[in-house]
């Protein structure tokens, strides 16, 4: 069969169009294939996972243990250049963690307190809203996940996150991992990463690593369950969130 130029262009342009149109139609048709993978019967379940960090119990030493437990397991590289570092969980002085709730007359106890900060796994996450590829998405249990194989590295999520919780791999992170943990994948350059409340551990029936390492200073549980431990402490004690005024609905609460 001979194809003349006009015909070729017609077919070519329709094919190119189809490339973009097919997924769009799928999207509006709403039948995106949902993988049916059975969860382990041991998996911990919740309607909305939340974390309560007790600042009275938290100190430098415990915070360090939490960070180490997390970063060692998740193969978070130790990059000396502060501008390029990767961090999932770290400490900030009170005035930086809570810029709107800090003032110059705070007691020294609070000023000197190391505040453990991590991704807030927001109820209304701005990073999910802006991601152009759904590489960042929210699970049904409220955990904001990161698909590092889907991520194109546009860093829109970093601009959108009001907590500075996301890190970008400006270079190959592997040379900066001191001791690689074969149980968890390492990352490539050019993708964004962050804390995911140890989603893979919850699925195995285990608590997040920082919670285990915290010696009781971090409580983890279901915010929607009135009987849960997190709800109990939130009822009994005064708690604050980071930048609640932005409407992102952070799932991390701090007892002070």
């Amino acid at each position: 069969m001979r194809i003349n130029r006009r015909k070729f262009l017609k077919i070519a342009s329709i094919s190119v169009l189809g490339f973009g149109v097919k997924p769009t139609i799928d999207l509006f048709a709403g039948h995106e294939a949902k993988a049916k993978i059975k969860k382990s019967p041991k998996a911990l379940r919740a309607k909305r996972w939340a974390m309560v960090i007790d600042l009275r119990k938290m100190n430098e030493e415990i915070a360090k243990k939490c960070i180490e437990a997390c970063h060692l397991f998740h193969n978070v590289p130790h990059i000396p250049d502060k501008k390029r570092e990767i961090k999932w969980i770290w400490t900030e002085p009170f005035e930086h963690a809570f810029p709107g709730q800090s003032h110059e007359f705070l007691g020294t106890e609070l000023i000197e307190k190391p505040v453990l900060v991590l991704c807030n796994n927001c109820d209304n996450p701005p990073c999910v809203q802006v991601c152009p590829t759904k590489a960042t998405f929210k699970r049904e249990d409220g955990i904001v996940m990161m698909d590092m194989h889907r991520c194109i590295g546009c860093r829109f999520c970093m601009a959108a996150c009001p907590y500075g919780s996301r890190s970008f791999n400006w270079m190959d992170p592997r040379p900066y991992i001191e001791k690689e943990n074969p149980e968890y994948p390492t990352r490539e350059k050019g993708v964004v990463e962050k804390c995911d409340f140890c989603a893979e551990r919850l699925d195995k029936g285990l608590m997040p690593l920082c919670v285990e390492a915290s010696e009781g200073a971090i409580i983890f549980g279901d915010l929607e369950d009135p009987e849960s431990e997190v709800r109990r402490v939130l009822r009994e004690r005064y708690s604050i969130q980071r930048k609640p005024e932005l409407g992102t609905g952070p799932s991390i609460f701090y007892l002070i």
Partner: protein
């Protein structure tokens, strides 16, 4: 028609070779960036967008600026612009090519960029920006090319081209509005969280784009036999005058809201840009050059004698381009990231490789522009004979 781009004077080829060499240098450095990652740039965890995205932001404005020529021509039948609409359309093509290149080279994983098409995400403004930019590119390429072709054979352009031309005029502001929305809807970035972001973008776009066209018109008249027309240049001068004054006013409105309200989070970004914050003041001299330059150019252009003189008009256009470039291509993006949401300050400055890659993209854009303008000018010269 393309054959017109393949025959030219020595000067033309010298320009083409010069631009191609710059583009090639940028490309080599880009290969290095692909190999080692974006660490060769000055960007950081805190300032996660830098020079690349800032250039894209500025050039979207230049692209949309072309519409200031097309609109009077198509909507008000302003014949004076008839000869230069194609210049505006081709400028838009070159600018959008640069925009798309800047977005792609800024990605950490550029080979995955089709994910934006494969997993369309209507809630992401970036998805819509991709749509508006590509459509605008196609519209201008088709409309410009077809208009030129029908001009060459002295036949009226087909009806569907007219329809596309009208459509592209309506579409042009969208590329700027959508780009402004990338910034203006983010919580915790107080510098960008303002409803006047899109109008500000449009005002500076409609000043910078026509400034480029005026300069190109003057250059073309000097070096070729094609005369875009004195009247057309003067009308563009008036358009630039109004839009740059509006742009300056918009900036003042922003300053009023920020400093009268006295909200520290909002003031900090302006302080960082214009007076420095906690000893960090890398951008301060630049921002003042931009601000004072823009004020001066507003005054100069408002004086009819200065605007009518083509020499001083050209000077004003250069000043408009430089001051709006500092504002968008340097200040806007960095200013939004500093201080960061934790009120810490990490400064940003482009590195040498980053600047050279940027230069390479600009050179690529100007190469596209040179070739397209060569075709347009050759055909106009032919018609003039």
């Amino acid at each position: 028609m393309f054959e017109k781009a393949l025959q030219g004077s020595r000067k033309y080829w010298a320009l083409v070779c010069f631009l191609a060499a710059l583009a090639g240098l940028g490309f080599i450095l880009l290969l290095w960036q692909l190999k080692v990652g974006l660490k060769i740039t000055g960007m950081s965890r805190d300032v996660s967008w830098g020079f690349y995205i800032a250039q894209f932001t500025y050039l979207v404005g230049v692209a949309a600026g072309g519409v200031m020529v097309a609109l009077p021509c198509y909507f008000h039948n302003y014949k004076v612009f008839g000869r230069i609409t194609v210049l505006g359309e081709f400028l838009a093509v070159a600018a959008i090519v640069m925009c798309l290149l800047f977005i792609i080279i800024d990605l950490g994983k550029p080979m995955r960029c089709l994910n934006v098409l494969l997993h369309p995400t209507p809630n992401s403004i970036l998805f819509w920006d991709m749509v508006v930019l590509n459509v605008y590119l196609l519209l201008n390429l088709i409309v410009g090319w077809m208009a030129l072709e029908s001009e060459r054979y002295e036949v009226p352009p087909p009806k569907w081209v007219k329809f596309l031309a009208y459509f592209s005029v309506v579409w042009a502001p969208c590329i700027h509005i959508v780009t402004a929305f990338i910034y203006s809807g983010l919580p915790g970035r107080h510098f960008w969280l303002t409803a006047i972001m899109a109008p500000r973008f449009l005002a500076s776009a409609f000043a910078a784009g026509p400034s480029f066209i005026v300069l190109f018109c003057l250059i073309i008249r000097k070096f070729t036999k094609f005369d875009p027309g004195k009247q057309a240049i003067q009308t563009l001068g008036k358009i630039i005058t109004y839009t740059i004054i509006i742009n300056f006013c918009f900036f003042l409105f922003e300053v009023f809201t920020t400093f009268y309200s006295q909200i520290p989070e909002h003031m900090n970004h302006f302080k960082y840009l214009f007076v420095g914050l906690k000893g960090h003041a890398k951008l301060v001299p630049w921002m003042w050059v931009s601000l004072i330059g823009m004020f001066i150019v507003c005054i100069l252009l408002a004086i009819p004698a200065i605007r009518r003189n083509e020499g001083s008009l050209a000077f004003c256009c250069v000043l408009v381009i430089i001051t709006t470039w500092i504002d968008k291509g340097l200040g806007l993006v960095t200013g939004g990231f500093v201080p960061n949401p934790l009120e810490e300050i990490t400064e940003y400055w482009p590195t040498v490789p980053e600047a050279l890659i940027t230069l390479g993209v600009w050179a690529t854009g100007f190469l596209v522009l040179t070739i397209l303008y060569k075709v347009a000018i050759s055909i106009n010269e032919e018609l003039g004979e």
